[in-house]
């Protein structure tokens, strides 16, 4: 792992098959936080869609 990867920029996809050995939150911080944020956006869209259907 490079210094930037050790500090949050490691790739979950590239390491997918070896995650049980390599996983720490610090290493995959940007992937994890951004992925979670994007799913939160998806949830917001779905909630708005439900609300629209009942409006």
């Amino acid at each position: 792992m490079t210094p930037l990867e050790e500090n949050g920029q490691a790739s979950l996809l590239r390491d997918l098959l070896k995650l049980p050995r390599t996983f720490t939150f610090k290493r995959y911080r940007i992937d994890l936080l951004g992925f979670a944020g994007a799913w939160a956006a998806v949830a917001a869209f779905i909630l708005f869609y439900y609300w629209m259907s009942k409006w």
């Binding site: 930037l4 951004g34 998806v42 869209f45 629209m52």
Partner: protein
Amino acid sequence: MKINLSALDWLVLAVYLGGITVIGLIASRKVKTSEGFFMGNRAFGKLVMLAQSLGTGTHSDQAVGVAGAAYTSGLSGIWYQWIWLFTTPFYWLLAPIFRRLRVVTIAEFFELRYGRKYSIVYAAVCVYLLALWQGISIKGTAVTVAAITGVPEWIIAVVVAVVFTVYGVAGGLAAAAVTDFVQGLFIVILSFLVVPFGMAKIGGFAGLHRALPPQFFTVFSAPGGELSKFNVTMLVLSGLAGIVVQPHMMAVAATGKTEMNCRVGWTYGNFIKRACTIGWTLTGLIAVVLFPGVPFHEREKVFGMAIATLLPAGLIGLMVASLLATVMATCSAFMVDGAALFTEDLYKPLLGAKAAEKSEAHYMKVARLSSLGITGIGFVLGLTMGSVVQATVLFISMLPFIGVAFWLGIVWPRANRFGAWACLIGSAIVYLGTKAHGSTNAWSSLFSLTTGVLLLVVVSVLTPPEPAEKMERVFGYISVPVGEEDLLPGTGENA
């Protein structure tokens, strides 16, 4: 021929078309190399990346298709585009992979990963698809704009093609991306401008619910319907498999200056599009109330009918400009992406050892001529295409066969060219075979994707691995974030 545009509408259109051409030509002055032409020197900031993602990925035929689907299926018509909603978070994870590969095209990745033959087949198919996609976009927009304005379709198609070709051929991706900045704004206008006028006329959401039966407000259509849960799920899965090999994705995902620019641009540019889809769906629902009885095969006309009926003078011109913006943003990017595939992955291999002897100016000339050629082919193809929605579903159904090889190619070093070919051929046979036996798109996608994954894994395990030096080029590069280029395998490589 009756033209339904006021002087104010014409003025808005003239300012838009003239302005976008000038902006594109100004942006083109910085383009000196083929890397600059194809990839904008990988120097785009977050806002340009957002606009590029929105502009390249949004075309008026999608708005027209979703509004038409909502007209017949109700609110669930949104899934024609929202199948991509669940794939969008993955762009956050994929963007740094694309950026770190440090290649110009996805075909270049395939050459490194699975060899030249696989790369050439992919590049040839994608050049054809990019031409076809341009044709579909131009035709779809010309039909809609002609219905609104009364101007003949062929005149609209020619004007659109000439304008984006002028700035696209001159400035490549830089011109396309900078104009996308303006076009993106027009796309948002396009998506929502009709809604307040329509809602005011039908009495808002309360009026909409009073006028339409409850099935128009279900989240999915009935089981077995075109937008049932199973069909939507399979479209999502095949969409996720196929999105990574859509030929324009390398430019959309990997032209940012930093990895964060790429992540934010690709992911949130697409979220803006998902928001725009809500406007298209509402336009379709409003149309059900205002124009009942439009036959199923003419449902894609309701978007244009809403514009022509609901908007006052001046705003019709703005809406037509917005429609043109969607097609020009998409086609200029597709034109450059097609030229990149042709120049880098078909023309250079054809030259063989002589490729290194040719000058940068020579490749710029090839890039510009191939841009023109691909758009010309697309223009002719566009005149012969059928329903835009059917074409979209077909497009999504075919790409995942190659997408499986991409996904396994980045997560599993043992995947090899034999497995990739077995996956491609096996999936295609299963897909076409099940379709021939009457299976729906959804079931055919399920069978072919499962077959593809199994074949790739089994055949790869049973055959020799790819050369170690090629694997080092792929996985070694993916492991080095942008900004740490001094750590790349081999010294002196450019990022």
